[in-house]
């Protein structure tokens, strides 16, 4: 078997990067921020106590899988998807698709990717990448986090695809079956923005959207009660930086990527207000980056007393206020 000619591109985030690569390969010219925006990727959720997490945490994007599903629904793209209970079947199906010249997106546990430096590896069950070929015992991987296609041992891919635990991949794979020819992006963009505004402003759940950011601000001062010791607390506070900046967010918890989407949407919809909002969101993103840095600094220096956590809380509350204003304006701008 050889490698499918595939235009490998780096992306900011694994799921939006993977979906973008697949639809681009199928002939649909979309940027990653456009995919992210149409799919209403921007989000906020705070989990103070949750059965899946041992420590309070937050998310800054919609649920894994939602980007693919929303792109399918709003753009008329058709992805075929498969999950497997038996490893052999999952590997066989992948090989069959590759033999047909079809690039295949797979969900894996990031930890098993040989090409990732060992110090960067962590068990994350929802990493997406595209398998574009097989040469001897190696699969050829287009992973949007890396500058060039990488090689991955068959055994490592198998272990990654069939890792256990929370959100286990179960061999999940998907590929593009159909893309529309020259779709009109205007309606999908508006739908994407509408849903993002709904998620951030109106979901009747106290831990989602702006309410979630406010809850995060209020409860972060209680984090020491969950920590075993200072070392543990410091690790968790520093994770704020990782969640906002370092997990394929495109920076500032996806705010920069969404700002780029709004800029592109402004041109396509001839709506100058969206461009103005894009610039506003860039500045809002700078504030999230300040939070990242603040959290990383106090974590690193073990300055985790009540005053510092209160300061962190104030910074987060300020983001809730500016994002509330921003999303209200965004909602109005597309009426």
């Amino acid at each position: 078997m050889t490698t499918i000619p595939f235009n490998h591109k780096m992306g900011a985030h694994c799921e939006s990067g993977t979906v973008t690569s697949l639809v681009n390969h199928a002939g649909l010219d979309l940027t990653e921020p456009m995919v992210f925006g149409i799919a209403s990727g921007i989000f906020f959720g705070y989990f103070h106590k949750h059965r899946s997490f041992t420590f309070p945490t937050f998310i800054v994007r919609n649920r894994p899988g939602d980007m693919r599903k929303n792109i399918q629904k709003r753009l008329g793209v058709k992805f075929n998807t498969f999950s497997f209970s038996r490893e052999e079947e999952g590997m066989k199906k992948l090989d069959e698709l590759l033999l047909q010249g079809i690039p295949v997106a797979t969900q894996v546990d990031f930890y098993y990717l040989d090409y990732v430096p060992s110090w960067e590896r962590a068990h994350v069950n929802v990493h997406f990448m595209v398998v574009i070929g097989k040469e001897e015992d190696d699969y050829i991987i287009s992973d949007s986090y890396f500058p060039k296609p990488e090689r991955l041992k068959e055994e490592s891919l198998r272990r990654g695809r069939f890792a256990g635990g929370n959100m286990a991949p179960k061999g999940f794979l998907f590929y593009t079956a159909r893309v529309p020819e020259q779709p009109d992006l205007r309606r999908p963009i508006l739908k994407g923005i509408e849903k993002a505004c709904f998620n951030m402003l109106s979901l009747p759940v106290p831990f989602i959207g702006i309410k979630g950011i406010r809850l995060f601000a209020k409860r972060v001062v209680d984090w020491p009660t969950f920590a075993r010791d200072t070392e543990h607390l410091s690790h968790e506070v520093m994770k704020i930086n990782i969640l906002l900046e370092d997990q394929g967010t495109g920076g500032a918890g996806f705010r920069y990527m969404y700002a780029t989407f709004l800029q592109q949407a402004s041109s396509l919809l001839h709506n100058p207000k969206l461009k103005e909002l894009s610039q506003q969101l860039m500045t809002i993103g700078d504030g999230w980056r300040e939070i990242s840095l603040f959290a990383a600094r106090i974590g690193k220096n073990r300055e985790l007393g009540p005053e510092k956590l209160k300061e962190l809380s104030t910074l987060i509350m300020d983001r809730a206020d500016v994002e509330e204003k921003f999303f209200k304006e965004l909602k109005k701008s597309i009426k």
Binding site: G248, T249, G250
Partner: protein, 93 residues
């Protein structure tokens, strides 16, 4: 106009990094232009927190945005890669 970063720019970047990170015990001359700033044999051995500080300092001083962390990681690899990026950004603006 040359697209090669000047020695002056490289020195300026080194000074910016050192003032941002409060590094007083190293001379800019000791910092190798090509050696990785993170985990290499450079006089400056930095960590990921320092990385964000550098990104924000570059944004403030030169008005360049390094929003995408994957790209940012490549650009802040060494003094040379930062200098090349600044020259490229200035040329395209």
């Amino acid at each position: 106009m040359s697209n090669e970063p000047s020695d002056e720019l490289k020195r300026e970047i080194k000074e910016l990094i050192m003032s941002t990170l409060n590094i007083a015990d190293i001379n800019p001359e000791e910092v190798d232009d090509d050696e990785p700033l993170f985990g290499g044999n450079n006089a400056l051995t930095l960590d990921s927190v320092d990385g964000i500080e550098i990104i924000m300092a570059l944004q403030r001083k030169y008005g360049i945005r390094l929003n995408d962390q994957n790209l940012a990681r490549q650009i802040i690899q060494s003094i040379n890669s930062i200098a090349e990026f600044i020259v490229k950004e200035k040329a395209s603006s």
